[in-house]
């Protein structure tokens, strides 16, 4: 799947928290339409911060977020879906109402909304679970609900902040496959934050490796293996080679960071 025109770009973004932590410095990122880009880096490299800035949940201290279309994400239709590390569901209501939430907040007409919710639940394989409460579901199923909720507005951009980090490996592999299917079926764009080399290689068309303190882009890798990817890709020599290259890049990013820390000390 070839990447198209730029959808959103971060230009020279700095983010300094009131505590004085420099989370991002001179951060540049182009997200192109239809691509699956991963932000990979050690913890504390500002990858989640970058995601929150794209979502408009956090304001950059300097620099700009440029959307290709004049419509910014906070107005009108929601162009962004966000999946947190935790499922972040409302425990007091059932799965259907959880997925309905974004449409309800947007004031959607009830009938149209219902059809969309059913479709989103169907897409993540939870068609029959609308009346279940979150705590009655397994961790993997809760994450599916969270993904369905992000998809229900049919977002142009899906932002995912280490969504599968807390899941067991079997569940994670399954959700990786499902996520790729959804991404291809919906022709959406995904920015995926992870600290797993293997997950990023399996999923992404492009990996942005980040270095920490301050958070910045260290290098980029194109993972130009064809989609659809499946179990065969996971066990292929290509996959192993991509993983090795990505691991090396990540190791270099961390070495640079340590040297910088050593120099500063």
């Amino acid at each position: 799947m070839s990447a198209g025109a730029s959808l959103v770009a971060l230009r020279g973004v700095d983010k300094r928290f009131p505590s004085g932590t420099q989370a991002l410095q001179g951060f540049d990122l182009d997200v192109r339409e239809g691509e699956f880009v991963s932000l990979l880096g050690p913890s504390g490299c500002g990858k989640s911060t970058a995601l929150r800035i794209i979502a408009g949940l956090s304001e950059p201290t300097a620099g700009a977020v440029e959307w290709s279309s004049p419509q910014t994400p906070m107005q009108g239709e929601s162009r962004i879906g966000f999946v947190f590390q935790e499922p972040t569901l409302m425990p007091w209501t059932n799965v259907f109402n959880n997925v309905l939430l974004p449409l309800k907040l947007k004031g959607f007409n009830a009938e149209k909304a219902r059809a969309r919710v059913v479709a989103a639940l169907d897409r993540v394989g939870l068609k029959d679970f609308g009346r279940a409460y979150p705590r009655e579901l397994s961790g993997g199923m809760r994450m599916r609900v969270s993904i369905a909720r992000a998809l229900v507005t049919e977002p142009a951009l899906l932002l995912m902040d280490e969504p599968f980090a807390a899941l067991d490996e079997i569940t994670r592999f399954k959700l990786n496959n499902d996520l790729l299917q959804v991404w291809q079926a919906l022709h959406t764009t995904v920015v995926f934050v992870t600290h797993s080399v293997f997950e990023s290689v399996y999923l992404s068309s492009r990996i942005v490796v980040m270095a920490a303190r301050p958070g910045r882009v260290f290098t980029e890798l194109a993972i130009d293996a064809p989609y659809p990817r499946d179990q065969n890709f996971r066990t292929s020599a290509d996959y192993a080679a991509f993983c090795r290259r990505t691991s090396e890049a990540l190791a270099q990013a961390m070495a640079v960071q340590e040297r910088a820390a050593g120099g500063a000390a």
Binding site: S78, I80, F82, F84, M90, W92, T93, L105, K106, T153
Partner: protein, 261 residues
């Protein structure tokens, strides 16, 4: 498992029966006059013979308690929501809510009785005692919203009203219900304290007044009978509120879930 349950119900009953028997025995054998300590049998008889009077008083006290409780629920939740919506209001008034809470109600009641008609003063006491736990708990609950959920709401452009109604109030519900459970018992205490402080007779006097009055007349069996009714009222209020708590939370909140492990 079933044996365990039987024991849990049977043992307190056995203890009660033993205690009452012992009490009756001591009174009988020691020839203790009823104006010093009446036996349980005499108290039961008094409850029966004075039922019309005591029941009327029970209704008066219960009505005050329920009104005080409802006003406390509305006032406590309402004020907490107001505080939550405006920091200026919160900073301006929260300290005074605390002052109202920490000043002993027994000390406030005589003052209220000077400025307000008696039924209103009694109601005000019940309200003052009961409203603070609702306010404090609701405030805590409104602040305990999952931050990611709050982010999600703002991502989808939720208005303040939507945020309050769809996120903050449901998040706070377990806290609110916890506050109400405390407030139920406290409203009864507030009503009792105020009735005793009021101390005036009349057709509309509550159970606490009956206790004070019986004390002056050395009608000790009636004191005990009225006390028994007050205890039962307190227990019923507590369990009713616990039931409401359970029914509202059983589907989702840890506190109300049955253990299946």
């Amino acid at each position: 498992m079933n044996r365990e349950r039987t024991l849990r119900i049977a043992l307190p009953i056995v203890v009660l029966a033993l205690g009452l028997s012992l009490w009756q025995l001591v009174v009988r054998v020691g020839h203790i006059p009823p104006y010093v300590l009446p036996g349980p049998w005499l108290i039961a008889q008094t409850l029966w013979s004075d039922w019309a009077l005591l029941f009327q008083s029970l209704i008066v006290t219960l009505a005050t308690t329920i009104e005080g409780f409802l006003l406390a629920a509305v006032g406590g939740v309402g004020l907490a929501v107001l505080f939550n919506q405006s920091r200026i209001v919160e900073y301006s008034f929260y300290p005074y809510a605390v002052v109202l809470q920490v000043t002993p109600i027994v000390a406030i009641a005589p003052l209220l009785l000077i400025y307000l008609p008696q039924p209103l003063a009694v109601l005000a006491c019940a309200w003052i005692v009961a409203f603070f736990p609702v306010l404090a708990n609701t405030t805590l609950g409104l602040h305990s919203v999952d931050r990611n959920l709050a982010d999600l709401f703002s991502l989808y452009g939720a208005t303040r009203g939507q945020m309050l109604w769809n996120l903050k109030l449901p998040s706070a519900l377990p806290y609110i219900l916890g506050g109400l459970r405390i407030a139920g018992g406290l409203a009864l205490i507030g009503a009792v304290v105020a009735e005793i402080a009021a101390g005036s007779a009349g057709a509309g006097s509550g159970l606490a007044y009956r206790i004070a009055e019986s004390g002056y007349r050395l009608n000790i069996p009636r004191m005990f009978a009225a006390l028994l009714l007050l205890s039962v009222a307190g227990i019923v209020i507590f369990y009713l509120l616990s039931l409401i708590n359970y029914l509202a939370l059983r589907r989702w909140h840890e506190s109300a879930l049955e253990q299946d492990r």
